[in-house]
Amino acid sequence: VIAGAEAQKWLQAWEGAAADLAAAFVRDPRTLAFGATMLRAHLAWRRAGEALADAIWAPFVGDDL
């Protein structure tokens, strides 16, 4: 439990600094580029996995799906 105006002031200052630092990190173009690459790779792998699953199942299922 946080008590006292002084503690509140320090907490706010710490929160502000942490928020600025976190925002600067996630908005850095390198972070954005890395995140975009990871997302694209994840989705591409997922698509490939689904294509493989479809190919495996295709002989066993008809066109009525």
Binding site: I2, Q8, A19, L43, A44, R47, D54, L65
Partner: protein, 375 residues
């Protein structure tokens, strides 16, 4: 664009999953709400105080209402005025497709819908349903020409006053452009129009970084968890401090109840319909087609100059979801006579427009006076 194979095992599995996922999302939202209540109770107990009560009233609409109709995409709810204003058009509320509308009716003392009722307005609300397996095939036209038009017709009035919030404002704006004769007044809250000016979300969804089609090919609809992670990137440190804030507010039961109500609402999202998401990201965020006058609904371009109803455009100055320039850009684009265009700028965040005590004390009385004069 790669579509899912027409007849494939994964496609059939995905369609089944999309329906199941909606039920799962409801469960997650209920779990988050229960966790928040438990954390709040623990914070109160640490101070030797009783839990905030009654906890179950938080997380759902606060004011009395009835269900008018139960459509494919939305339920239409009616919040009746106790003493209706003579000749006033009913207010039709269009909330964002991805958030629950009850942020406008969060707590009895912080209810936009309740305030409108007290001012004598009959209020109708579109309570969007989770899209399920139909989501990948849904388009803007289904919402603008379908659900909103049906909702307006179901009020029984020749014209409605439209109140749109966030993406719901963009939908309301499109309806006002396509059916101007049905709109008596248009009030928009935190509504993105110039999507290239909408701040961090515009950067995150830039074409070189983000492929909406690839995403929807994988998921069908955008799951709330992914949606949440995108919003959390806007203020990444917020999540880390939320528990600390609950403990800091534990001494003030009203403040704590307010915080729990807002946080529970934030965790209660609906999946973004896949087909609409493709149009939204490609057409609006990436091509900025609404401003360029080539965003098409049912094959016809939306021309904002066809909006002729009196306009009240409310901008939150600390909005990180819809940056102020994105909303302000609407003012010169509409066909409303200049003397009937109002731009209200208020120092709060996107959600503060409807949930902050200051907005209810200072902003909403002003908006209601505007509606009284125009609707």
């Amino acid at each position: 664009m790669m579509q899912m194979h027409k007849n494939s095992a994964t496609r059939a599995w995905k369609r089944a999953w999309l329906d199941a996922a909606d039920a799962f999302d409801r469960l997650v939202a209920a779990g988050s709400r229960a966790s928040l209540h438990a954390l709040a109770a623990a914070a109160r107990a640490a101070r030797g105080e009783a839990p905030i009560a009654p906890v179950m009233s938080i997380g759902g609409p606060a004011s009395p209402h009835r269900v008018v109709s139960d459509g494919k995409l939305a339920r239409l709810l009616h919040y009746p005025a106790a003493q209706p204003r003579a000749g006033a058009a009913p207010v039709l509320v269009v909330a964002s497709l991805i958030n629950r509308y009850y942020v406008l009716d969060l707590l009895p003392e912080l209810s936009v819908l309740g305030a409108l009722n007290r001012a004598g307005f009959d209020v109708y609300v579109l309570d969007w349903k989770a899209p399920g397996a139909a989501g990948p095939d849904l388009r803007f036209a289904d919402y603008v020409d379908g659900a909103i038009a049906d909702g307006a017709a179901a009020t029984g009035a020749p014209q409605v006053a439209l109140l749109g919030y966030c993406m719901g404002g963009t939908l309301a704006l499109m309806f006002a452009a396509r059916r101007p004769e049905r709109v008596r007044a248009l009030c928009l809250l935190g509504t993105p129009v110039d999507f290239h000016a909408s701040g961090e979300l515009a950067r995150l969804t830039a074409p070189e970084r983000f492929d909406a089609d690839l995403m929807m090919d994988a998921f069908g609809n955008l799951p709330p968890a992914l949606l949440q992670s995108g919003f959390k990137l806007l203020n990444p440190a917020d999540a880390a401090f939320k528990t600390a804030h609950l403990y800091a507010d534990a001494g003030d039961a009203d403040r704590l109840r307010h915080r729990v109500a807002v946080e529970a609402w934030l965790e209660d999202n609906i999946a973004f319909p896949g087909g609409v998401y493709r149009e939204y990201i490609r057409g609006l965020y990436q091509d900025n087609a609404l401003v360029a006058k080539n965003f098409r609904v049912a094959g016809e371009p939306i021309d904002l100059a066809r909006v002729t109803a009196p306009l009240c455009n409310v901008v939150a100055l600390r909005d990180s979801i819809c940056a102020p320039p994105s909303s302000r850009a609407l003012m010169p684009l509409v066909g409303t006579p200049p003397e009937a265009r109002e731009l209200y700028e208020f120092d709060t965040g996107h959600i503060g427009l409807t949930t902050s005590r200051r907005a209810h004390a200072e902003l909403w009385p002003r908006i209601i006076r505007w509606l009284e004069a125009r609707a």
